[in-house]
Amino acid sequence: MRPSLVAAIAALSCVTPATEAQEAIAAARALTLIVGPLLTAERDEHASPLRYDGAGPFMQASYVYRTERVALAVRLGGAIGTLRSAMTGADDLPRQELTRGWIDVEYAHVLGTPRARTRWLLGGGLAQRATLLRHLTVPADANSVGYALYSASIGPLFGIERAIGRLGRLRAQLAVPVLALIGRPYGGLYNKLTLIPDALRLRLATVKAFQAVDVTAAHAVEVGGSTDLVLSYRLVVERYRDAEPFGSASQAMSLGLALRLGRDR
């Protein structure tokens, strides 16, 4: 197993006891909005052999529907950020302007007793992610080219939920895609985006070529009649083996509110 995967699972084991996923699990239906900082480190060898890292804000909206037996979640999020390499030093360039977006659709089934204090979930998810890196180099007015990685992946997910006290919930979740469609478009002539047709072609990738781990953990606390305060953490690691490999890891800490719709727990 790859060291990064081992580390990801280790990270999951660290956060599982203390945190939960990003939606309030207390409601039958809930709308959640979270915001926070996103730390990203990436190496897209299509753009550069150097590692770039940095931070930026992200926002995510999600809708969760759950019954005693199943949970369905749809998440829509986006982030921006400015990444720099160790080579950049005190200079402004080179740097990468990061734009990332994602749509996750997840379905999970409760294992065992639905009303247990601790619930185990098993399901699957479809994750669509797009990462665009606008690579800016010296000199400042040099042609800047954007490099992207698009992935649509499916795979199993595992989760655990636990009620904490009268008003709180913890949830942790691990999703590991096993099959993905990958696209690596790039292009750009100065500020006019020119996409290269060859790079638009999608490629099917198994875990041999595309490996990813998505760990989410969150703690939701009821703060009002139908509102929860949600504190969450998410780690996403992606690697794509190609002639020009792509590797990315991002972690996000966020705070948000979940509005419970319809009947309460």
Binding site: S4, A18, T19, A41, P49, R51, A142, G168, T194, P197
Partner: protein, 339 residues
């Protein structure tokens, strides 16, 4: 409950601060000298857009230079080898920056270009800089304006040309001088040329490398010039060129050539049709090469050839010594005839 929340928050913060994202991506890769050479060679092999024009055997050049890279005793020697490899392409847009060492093809024509801004100043006695200092303007004659565009790098070109045209509202004809102009960014040439155009016109095409084989290029994508700016100059225009007008300056010539009432005067441009991108090596060096190529509206290339003027004038050292600018003199004569 509050205590739990604090504990959870603290755990998350610790995770974030630990910056464990770097662990998953790993440190910057170290490549030996041959590895650095191979990366440059492979990058151009995959993305360079002008192999068909250059007609070099890139594979053979690999066989020649790779052993030298492997035997390089220092980074400086490696830089020399990589620089020598790149110079085989004879491309003004190809180069290597290795610390303080810079390897760049010196150009297709190293003869003097016979352009002296000091001599021009004797014609344009009221010459002054535009607000963003990318250009200077004045009167070359009572009713003939003169705009000297030094380069196309940076921003503010639209404001500069608007200022020049406003200040030269009393002229009936205009000279735009792009001699010795090293180029810059395409949007800047369009910002200037857009002040002279009457309607949308396709002035060039671009093709991008699009596959493993050197002949795999995208379909020609038109570069369209549109009217822009506060005002439009409709009088006759002469554009001055020489063998140091290169890259985006040549794009400007293509754009102006597409307009009626424009005469290109001077020597052929240099012939740098590539559109470069800059790449990095793990050791901090950078290199650049074209991944896209500009073409004239008839889809012919001007790489290494340049764009021929409508009226060819080369100038000479003797004329400059006598305080005369032959290209400017010719442009003035042409414009006076057209008024």
């Amino acid at each position: 409950m509050k205590r739990r929340l604090v504990v959870v928050a603290a755990a998350v913060v610790v995770l974030m601060v630990a910056g464990c994202t770097d662990i998953f991506v790993g440190p910057d890769v170290k490549l030996d000298r041959l590895g650095l050479f191979e990366r440059v060679w492979r990058d151009l092999d995959r993305y360079y857009s002008l192999f068909l024009v250059k007609r070099v055997s890139w594979d053979s050049l690999h066989d020649v230079y790779a052993p030298r890279a492997a035997q390089a005793a220092s980074d400086s020697e490696l830089a020399f080898v990589v620089g020598a490899l790149l110079s085989e392409l004879r491309d003004v847009h190809v180069g290597l920056v290795a610390g303080t060492q810079v390897y760049r093809f010196t150009g297709y024509d190293t003869r003097p270009a016979f352009f002296d801004p000091g001599i021009v100043a004797q014609y344009v006695t009221d010459r002054r800089a535009a607000p963003n200092a990318h250009s200077a303007f004045g009167h070359a004659a009572a009713d003939i304006g003169y705009v000297w565009i030094l380069h196309f790098q940076g921003s503010g070109f639209g404001a500069d040309i608007d200022t020049a045209l406003a200040q030269l509202a009393d002229v009936r004809a205009l000279i735009i001088d792009v001699r010795d102009n090293p180029g810059g960014q395409a949007p800047n040439l369009e910002a200037v040329a857009g002040r002279f155009i009457d309607r949308d016109r396709t002035y060039a095409f671009i093709r991008v490398r699009d596959g493993q084989r050197p002949d795999e290029l995208t379909q020609p994508e038109p570069r369209v010039l549109s009217p822009t700016g506060l005002s439009r100059f409709t009088g006759p225009v002469a554009v001055l060129t020489n063998r140091r007008s290169v890259s985006t300056a040549e794009g400007f010539v293509l754009a102006m050539r597409a307009l009626p009432g424009v005469t290109i005067v001077g020597d052929s441009t240099e012939g740098g049709a590539g559109n470069p991108l800059t790449r990095e090596l793990p050791n901090g060096w950078t290199y650049r090469f074209p991944f896209a190529t500009w073409y004239a509206p008839d889809l012919t290339t001007f790489e290494e050839i340049g764009l021929a003027p409508d009226v060819w004038v080369r100038g000479s050292a003797a004329e400059l010594a006598a305080g005369r600018d032959a290209i400017l003199d010719t442009a003035l004569a042409i414009l006076r005839r057209s008024l």
